[in-house]
Every structure is written in C-alpha cells, then in structure tokens.
C-alpha cells in the first residue's frame, strides 16, 4: 500500500507544471527521464490497482501477454518524435501522455511482468535494445531537425544517450546470462 502512495506522490510531482516544463525543456530528459518516471509511478500505483481489481486483471490478462502488448504499443508510440512534439504544442496530447504512460503502460507492465515466462521477458529486453538502437541510428544520423521544439544538437544528444542506454540494457542481459541466478535465492 505504501508503494502505491509513493507512486501517487511521484505522479503528482511529475505533472506539476513547473516540474513538467523543466523536464520537457531538454529533449533527452523528456524522453528518457520524464516518460520512464511516469511509467514507474504507474508501476508503483499498480500495487493498489491490481489488488483492488484482481478479477479484472485475472480475466483479461491471465498470461500477461495482453498487458505487455499494451505496454509495448504505448511505449513505442511515445518514441515517435512527432508524438513528443505534439505533447508540447497540444494540451490534449500532453494530457494523454500523463494518462497513458502510468495507467496504460506502468500498471499493465507490473501485472504482466510476473506472469511472463522467461522467454517473454527476453523478448521484451530485445525489443528495448532494438528500439533504442533504432532511435540512436535515427537521431544521430538525421541531419534535419526532426522536432519543431528541439534543436539539432539536442536531437543528436538523444541519439547518443539512447545508444548508451541500449548498451546498458545489453550489459544487464549479459550479466543475467553469465551469473547463476540461484545464488540470489
């Protein structure tokens, strides 16, 4: 329960206009910090929602796959440069961001994660890595300004940052592969 309250506090903090403005003023912070934190706040709040509506999740997300698909769709949508740009120009899109990331990505992620088989988790990691590498390729490679709201230098920064994150996820996978997980039981 405490977790859910922390999640709610984090959520409210993130949508406060000054906080949101500051985080959105830097492209990479917008994409790789604000958005993951929104998902994370949903993940924490999920503790309450999932126990409260357990039969709903049992019925619609029994094997975790629908939830994870929803997560992937929402997440991928927000990786589109146009979506980020619109969040800054259209109030309604900004609102959709604040609702979709925690509630349609964070909560399903929490419910699905423990239900997924190892193979499902691996696929998700590989999706993350390929998504990040794709973005690195686009953002570092593009010579034109992709977003109205962000300069080219920020775009390239986002590309390099995505590459670094891809390397981190890869490293995480590798260390999972090479350490004996039973040691931690």
């Amino acid at each position: 329960m405490k977790q859910a309250i922390y999640g709610l506090i984090l959520y409210i903090f993130l949508i406060l206009p000054p906080v949101a403005n500051l985080l959105e003023s830097i492209m990479i912070i917008h994409m790789h910090m604000q958005m993951p934190l929104l998902v994370f706040s949903g993940f924490l709040m999920g503790r309450y929602v999932i126990t409260r509506f357990s039969s709903f999740f049992e019925k619609w997300n029994s094997n975790g796959i629908p939830g994870i698909l929803l997560f992937v769709i929402i997440w991928s949508y927000w990786m589109v440069p146009r979506a980020m740009d619109e969040a800054l120009t259209l109030q309604s899109v900004e609102m959709f961001k604040f609702i979709s990331l925690p509630f349609l990505a964070g909560i399903p992620l929490r419910d699905s994660w423990k239900k997924l088989h190892a193979i499902g988790k691996d696929i998700l990691f590989i999706y993350f890595i390929s998504m990040l590498i794709l973005m690195a390729w686009i953002y570092i490679g593009a010579d034109d300004q992709i977003c109205n709201n962000y300069l080219i230098v920020e775009q390239k920064t986002l590309g390099w940052g995505s590459l670094a994150l891809a390397a981190c996820v890869l490293l995480y996978l590798l260390q999972l592969l090479f350490t004996d997980q039973s040691e931690y039981q």
């Binding site: 390099w160 940052g161 981190c168 490293l171 995480y172 040691e183």
Partner: protein, 559 residues
C-alpha cells in the same frame, strides 16, 4: 556453551590464529605509505598556513604552488587511497577468512604501480614542472611524466579493484544463498565506485598526455574539467563510504552495542554507489557551457546524496541511544554519558561524525546556486573540505588505526597509547576547528583560495583578511603537532608496542534480526544502474561541449 576447539578452528579460524600474516603484510605496507604521506603532506600544510599568515616566506627554490600541489596530491590522493586500500583489504581478509593468493598478488602489483606513479608525480612537482594543483585540469599543463605517473596510480587502484571483485566472486560462488559479511559488502561498494570513478579521469589524462607533449595542439577545457569532477567528486564519496563502514559496523561494537538493521545499511551503500557520480557537476556551478536547466537538475542529484547521509545520521544516533540506555543511561540525554568517551577508538570517529553536521550544512551551501556565487573559489571552500575530509573522514581513519594496526601487527593497544590517542584527537579537533573556522569566515569576506599573497597592495578589504589568516597559521601549528603524534602512534603500534592479541571489532546484528535480503547482492544490476545514471547525466553537457565547442586551448604554463 563453549564451542569445541575443533569446531571453532573449522568455522572461524581467525579467532585462534588471528590475521593471516601474508594479508597483514599487504595492509601494513599500504598503511605505512599512507602515514608517511600524512607526515610530508602535513609539513607542507604547515608551510602554507605560515606563508598565508605572513609569518614565513618560502625560499626562492620552493614556491607556494609547488607546495600546494604536493599537499593536495599527497593528502587527497595518496594518503586517503593507500589508507582505504589497507583498511578495506584487512576488512576483506577478516570477513572472508583470508585473501586468495592471487588477490594478494594483485594487491602487491597495485602497490608497486602506485609507488612508481607517485614517485613520477612527486619528482615532477619537486622539479617545478607540475605546479598544476591536485586538480590538474587544463589549460594549466604539467610535464607529460606527471600525467603518466597518474596513469600508473590509476592502474594500481584498478589492480586492487579487480582483486576485491575476484575474491568476492569466489566467496559468492562457495556460499550460495548466504549474504556476504557486511564489511565485505562495503568493500564491494568502495571498489565498484572507485573503478567507475577513475574512468572519467583516465580519459581526461589520456588526452592530456599527447597535448602536453605537443602532439595535439589544443584540448577542450570544459570536457577536461567535467571529466575531472566526475572523478573528484566521487572520490569524496569513496572516503565517505569507507568512513561509514567504520561508523556502522565497527563503532557499535566498540561501545558494546549492535549494528543497525543490515537491510538499511546495505541500502545506503547501494544508493551511494548508484547516485554518486553525477554529483560532480556541483563543482562546476560557476562554469560556463553548462545550461541553467542542467545545473538545476544537478542540484537535485547532489541533494539526493543527502538522503543516504541523513539515513546514516539517524541510524547512528539510534544505535548510540539504544546502547547508552542499555548501559543504564536515564533521561533524555543521560545515555550520552554512558558512551566510552575516554576510548580513542570511539572518541575519534564520534567527533568525526559530529563534524559531519557542519560539514554537511556547508555542503548544502556550496551546492546551492546563489550561495555558491558568494563562496566560490574563496577560502570558505578550503575550510569546508578541511572539515569534511580533515575531520569527518581523517579522524575516522585515525580512530581505526588504534585497533587495526595492533591487530595486524599482533600487538596490543596499551592504555598509555590510548591516552596519547585521546590527546591527539583533542589537539587535531582544536587545530581543525580553529583553522577551518577562520577559513570559512575569511572566505565569506572574499579571501581567495589558492593564492600565495593576498595583500593586494594593502587594499583595505584585503587587509581585513589578515587577522583570519593569522589564525590559519595558529590552527596549522596545532595540526602539525597532532600529525606528529599520530604518525608516532602508528609506527609505534606497528613495530614497538607489546606483543599480544587484539580484537577485530565487528558488531553483530540485534537479536532476532532477519538476515540481509539476497537481492542486495545483485552487483550486476547496481553497476548497470550506475552506468545508466552516468549516461543520462553526462550525455547532455558533454555532447553540448563537444558539438558547440569553442577553439581548444593550448598548454599553458603560468609559472
């Protein structure tokens, strides 16, 4: 019930045999270098103090900036690094019941590399080829040998890092499902942080070598400074982690209590490891080329470090109160009286912890943008780090000596030596309080740091600093006396104290406490998170500094 001797030998051989003599040699070698550096660094500190006070003039062949560079390098890098390695390797040996032979070899290789490196660095400073101060960032350029010496020092540290990792993996494999002993957990935190801290400075130094040799013409000053503080700031928190290992685990045993909940202790270590490195930006609040929003976000990062610090303060005082009350302390503060104030092994780290309160408050001043404008590059900063390093960290190190060295040398701490330690602690406290206190005040009035002559042709503002500078000199004299006593105590306990058995004081958890959860041992995950935090924090400013770079700077020698 007495354990049969055979059982004790099998389960806990150290109890009977004491420290493994080969491991003790490693630790004692590092500690010896450490205290020799303290002695030399202390003498140089006194020279500076007296020069600033106007009581003495350095001879023409030895200038202020040479002395200052050597003081910084010897105390900030050599003294603390060698002490840390000696102490942490002793902890590891104790926790794991002895080091692996190959790990011991790595520690000796590290020792050799570091000695070679320090000799190269020191030679260049003495030859007046490297008066670039311990921060050595461009555009000031030293002789290439100075930087190459630094590379050797880093290689030596890496050798020690890998030693710790190998021993940890070995233990982990052979003890499935068992949490590592808490001191070994701290050692992992310290050396993981050290490895990743030194990555930044290594990149910097490797670019400075061809630049100082004239092979490349210019260097990017902002990138250099940023990479330096990636390391410099993290180094501060490495000491802090080393000191907290003693606060959490050793001090409770000395006062006859138990340590705090292990889960919380481990959480503090993990948080410090993951969040630390980006704090480096608070040293660059006045630097150009970093945008305001980024600086603002980094204020959050460095204040985030206050969270584990406050957790530590809370936990420590909880332990003190609990123990004091168990010993019969009554009333609101009665328990304070029950603590063993006359025992140097407690007194020194206790004063160290108390001085962390003003130290931490000063740190919050430094990291706040507007306040930083007032104190930046003034003597305030020097006062600040003499409180944090010179008291909180160094006094903890001193306190550790009084049990660690007799333990390693298979000797005992005599009551007389304990008394000498108490006196040393008091003199050091007085000296640091006087010196750092007046440095803080002089800084508020604008007295610049790192400046040999601050008379400015007798200008009245400059004249107003004079009396404070005189007080630095008085404080420095006290400190010098304390340094001599400490070095005497260390070598006396190492070679001359009576032979005997000294306990290695490791606190146990409270009765009925749950063992630490195994997820805290996921170092692979902590390292990945550390790297992700570093990537996110550094990519923006560094990309900006490189893509919007001004023309680089050629090497500059101002002396």
């Amino acid at each position: 019930m007495e354990q049969p001797l055979k059982e004790t030998i099998r389960q806990n051989p150290k109890k009977i045999l004491g420290v493994n003599p080969d491991d003790a040699k490693v630790a004692l070698a590092y500690l010896s270098v450490s205290f020799v550096s303290l002695l030399i660094g202390g003498i140089l500190g006194l020279l500076q103090g007296l020069e600033r006070a106007g009581l003495m003039q350095l001879p023409s062949w030895l200038n202020y900036y040479q002395v200052l560079t050597a003081h910084g390098v010897l105390l900030l890098l050599v003294f603390t690094a060698t002490f840390t390695i000696g102490y942490q390797y002793a902890n590891l040996s104790h926790s794991f019941g002895g080091l692996l032979a190959k790990v011991r070899k790595l520690a000796w290789i590290g020792f050799g590399l570091m000695i070679i490196g320090v000799v190269m660095v020191a030679t260049m400073i003495i030859l007046n080829e490297a008066s670039v101060l311990y921060t050595f960032y461009p555009p000031l350029a030293a002789h290439p040998v100075f930087y190459i010496g630094l590379v050797f020092v880093v290689l030596g540290i890496w050798s020690c890092c890998f030693g710790v990792f190998i021993n940890y993996r070995h233990w982990r494999k052979n003890h499935p499902g068992q949490p590592t002993p808490i001191l070994a957990f701290f050692a992992m935190g310290v050396f993981v942080l050290w490895l990743f801290a030194s990555v930044g400075v290594t990149i910097e130094v490797l670019t400075l070598i061809p630049w100082s040799m004239g092979i490349i013409e210019t260097t990017n000053v902002m990138v250099g400074r940023t990479l330096f503080w990636w390391f410099g700031h993290t180094l501060v928190n490495i000491w802090y982690l080393v000191a907290t290992s003693a606060w959490y685990v050793i001090v409770p045993k000395i006062i006859g209590g138990h340590h705090f909940k292990e889960k919380l202790i481990r959480l503090v270590v993990i948080l410090l490891v993951i969040l630390n490195i980006p704090g480096g930006f608070h040293h660059q609040i006045i630097d150009p080329a970093i945008s305001i929003p980024i600086k603002y976000l980094h204020v959050f990062m460095s204040l985030a470090i206050a969270v584990p610090s406050l957790m530590t303060a809370f936990a420590m005082f909880a332990v003190f109160e609990r123990t004091g009350r168990k010993l019969g302390g009554k009333g609101l503060f009665g328990w304070l009286k029950k603590l063993p104030w006359g025992d140097v092994r407690f007194l020194a780290p206790m004063i160290a912890m108390i001085s962390f309160i003003p130290g931490g408050a000063g740190g919050i001043v430094n990291t706040s943008n507007q306040l930083n404008q007032v104190i930046h590059n003034t003597m305030w900063v020097v006062g600040h780090f003499h409180v944090t390093v010179g008291m909180s960290v160094v006094m903890t190190f001193f306190g550790i000596c009084y049990w660690l060295i007799p333990y390693l040398a298979k000797r005992v701490l005599t009551p007389k030596m304990s008394k000498i330690g108490v006196i040393q602690t008091i003199i050091w406290t007085i000296g640091m309080t006087i010196m750092a206190g007046s440095m803080h005040i002089a800084g508020l009035f604008g007295d610049p740091r790192r400046t040999s002559d601050t008379s400015y042709g007798g200008h009245e503002i400059a004249a107003s600093w004079m009396s404070y500078e005189l007080i630095f000199g008085i404080g420095a004299t006290f400190l010098m006396i304390a340094v001599i006593i400490q070095v005497y105590a260390v070598f006396n306990m190492m070679f001359f104290a009576p032979k005997g058995h000294t306990e290695f004081p490791v606190a146990e958890p409270e009765e009925g406490e749950e063992p630490a959860p195994m997820w805290t041992e996921r170092w692979g995950l902590w390292i990945v998170l550390l790297l992700a935090v570093v990537a996110m924090a550094y990519v923006v400013p560094i990309a900006d500094m490189i893509m919007n770079a001004p023309p680089g700077s050629p090497p500059i020698k101002t002396w």
